[in-house]
Every structure is written in C-alpha cells, then in structure tokens.
C-alpha cells in the first residue's frame, strides 16, 4: 500500500495515540480497582459473615470505576481501526 509522507505521519500518530491512550487510561482503573479489592479484603477479614454482600458491592464498584478504562479502550480502538488516512 503506497502512502505519502503526510499519510504515514498521520497513521503513525494515530497508532502512537492509541498506545498512549490505553497506557495512561489503564493507570487509574488499575489503581482504583486495587484499592477497592484491598478494602474489601479488610472488610471480609473484619466481618466474614458479610462476605457475600461485600463481594457483590466490590464487583459493582470495580465495574463502575473500570468505565474510564473502557472509554480509553473505545478511543484506542477508534484510533486504530476507524482513522483512515
């Protein structure tokens, strides 16, 4: 496939942007979900009889805090597949 220099630069920028977007976008959700899981462990250790409720709440909270990571995934997929040069 033949490309001019401008098209090559645009494609490279889109791919680089996708990588940076996914890398930085995965930082926040990773940290947040780790905190949630740690606190849930503490809660289960303190009161093991509430383990079911704590696990359920933990999963919902993690999925909600994951959404920013999912947004960056969608943006990265758009950059990789939808940007036509």
């Amino acid at each position: 496939m033949e490309m001019t220099i401008a098209q090559g630069i645009a494609k490279a920028a889109a791919l680089l942007g996708a990588g940076v977007c996914m890398g930085i976008g995965a930082l926040g959700p990773g940290l947040g979900e780790g905190f949630v899981a740690g606190k849930a462990c503490e809660g289960i250790a303190r009161s093991p009889e509430n383990a079911n409720l704590i696990t359920r709440t933990m999963l919902v909270g993690q999925a909600v805090s994951e959404s920013t990571g999912i947004y960056s995934l969608v943006i990265a997929l758009l950059l990789v597949f939808a940007v036509k040069v």
Binding site: V60, A63, V64, E66, S67, Y71, V74, F81
Partner: protein, 303 residues
C-alpha cells in the same frame, strides 16, 4: 473398572503436549496447514494466511467496510438477490444490521424457550431449570426489596428481564457457529437499553414525586444553582451505562479474535472465552442491572 492400554490420564497428557507443540509451531510460522488432494496427489502443505489480523478484524467487526474496501459483491446466505433486497432497506450497513437483527431474534427465541421451559411445570414437581430460574428471581427480588422497598416489588420482573436479556446476549457469542456474535457488541443495543433504563427512572420519579417536584431541580437555577450540570449528568448516565457494556464486550471479542488468530484457533480460545465470555459477560450484565436499579432508587428518594 480396568482399562487395557493407556489410561485416560496418559491420553490427556499426550494430547496436551501435542496441543502445546502445535501452538508453539503455528505461532511462529504464520501459516496454516492444508491437508487434501491436489493435482491427483495427496499432499500436506503449509499455505500462507489469506488475511492479516487487521483484515480479519475488519471483516469480523465492520463487514460492510470490508466489502467496499475489497470491492467484493455482498451476499447473504450466498444469495445476491437477498443482499440487494436488504440493501434497499438498510443502506450502507446492510451486513451488520442483518446479522444484528438475526442475533436479536435468536436471543429472543432463547429467552422464550427459557420462559416456556420454566412455565410448563409451574404447579408440578419443580424441574431443575425452574429451581435455577426461581433462584435468580428470588435473588433479584431481594435486591429490589433492599433498594426500592417492599411496595415496589412490581419492578422485579423488569429487572430480571434486563438481566436475562443482557446475559443471554453476552453468552450467545461463545457458541462456536460462524456468524454468531454478541448483539451487545453493536453500540445500538446497549445505547437503546440505556435510554430505556433512564426513561423508566424518570417515569418512576415523576409518578412518585409529581411532575413539577421532579423537574424543578433541573430547570430552576434559583432552587438549584447546578441545574444545568444536573441535566447534563442525566444524559451522561445513558452514555456511561451503555458504553461500559459495549466497550467490555467489544474489547473482549477483539482480544479473543486477535489471540485466536495468533495461535491458530487451538486451545487458547477456550480459556479466553471462559474469562471474557463467561466471567466478564455475567459481571457486566449484573452491573448493568444493578446500576439501572440504583438509578431508580436514587431518583425516588426525597431530599
């Protein structure tokens, strides 16, 4: 019971070793093995891949774009006339719209099948599916009573329907039939369900608090200085709830496709489907349901 020859354990180990060897070999070669008759002789040969990964992804996720890029004639079930007929209705996105509607019909049939298989023995000795479905219903009934109160138990069928629909949608992508895909992979389905959920939230709030008492915080800047932000926040609820489901399912499907074509569809997709299909699909269906429920419970509480 005694076995002659090799035991089951030995067979599993042998098959596992062969699988791992094939995975390692086929990953490096970027070729597929072709076995068959050609030019009158039996041959086993390596053939180069027809597609690159990028083309495979485009064909799987944007079939209409793939057609226009490669200049191929579109067919549905091998028939051009059928394609032309649907092209007149759907326009530029014929193939994706057709496969989406086909998958939605299959999902609806599956849910009807579940409903009838449960309803048949309703007053008889409970069957196994009925016990399972009653467990699911009881679980969500408890959640509704916890968050909405006992007088709103009529919301349980709505909540269970949302959960079952999204769960069946996410599970149906794991069936290894060509053309089967998750309907939630298309943004239109989660977006429609998100709009429906927010509509139900506002109708419930208006029926509980009255029209003016519900709408005043959104349009009266004297009572609520942040009214514009609150109104925009209601729209962003739709975006967040639907993009979460869409992104999770689409990302999982792309990862499964990419890694499957790297290892030539051997052994790995099972584990990948266990995580991205079963685990993520169930969690996301549950999260969508819980969020739809908690939006209602936030909207009907009095400040």
């Amino acid at each position: 019971m005694t076995h002659k020859g090799l035991s089951l354990k030995t067979w599993i180990i042998i098959i596992g070793v062969i699988e791992i060897a094939v995975v390692i070999l086929s990953g490096g070669l970027n070729k597929t093995l072709q076995v068959g008759f050609e030019d009158g002789t039996f041959a086993i040969r390596n053939v180069a891949d027809k597609y690159s990964i990028q083309e495979a992804i485009t064909e799987e996720f944007q079939p209409d774009l793939y057609l226009t890029e490669n200049g191929e004639e579109g067919t549905i079930y091998g028939s051009t006339a059928l394609y032309d007929f649907f092209h007149r209705i759907f326009g530029g996105s014929t193939l994706s719209a057709f496969s989406l509607i086909r998958m939605l019909i299959i999902v609806n049939l599956a849910i009807l099948l579940i409903a009838f298989s449960v309803k048949k023995y309703l007053f008889d000795r409970p069957s196994k599916p009925q016990i399972l479905m009653e467990g699911v219903y009881e679980f969500f009934d408890g959640l509704v009573i916890d968050s909405l109160g006992k007088e709103r138990r009529s919301y349980t069928p709505y909540v269970v329907t949302i959960f079952l629909f999204i769960w069946v949608c996410n599970m149906i992508g794991m069936i290894p039939i060509p053309g089967f895909m998750e309907p939630t992979r298309n943004l239109n389905v989660p977006l429609g369900m998100g709009i429906m959920c927010i509509t139900v939230v506002h109708i419930t709030a208006i029926r509980t608090k009255g029209l003016w008492r519900h709408l005043e915080p959104f349009i009266n800047p004297i009572k609520n200085p942040m009214c514009v932000l609150d109104a925009v926040g209601e729209i962003s609820k739709v975006v967040s709830i639907s993009f979460r489901l869409f992104g999770n399912i689409l990302g999982g499907a792309i990862i499964v496709l990419v890694i499957s074509s790297l290892v030539k569809f051997i052994l790995f997709p099972v584990g990948l489907n266990l995580f991205f299909g079963l685990f993520v699909g169930t969690i996301q269906a549950f999260v969508f349901t819980m969020l739809a429920l908690s939006y209602i419970s936030v909207a009907i509480t009095e400040e």
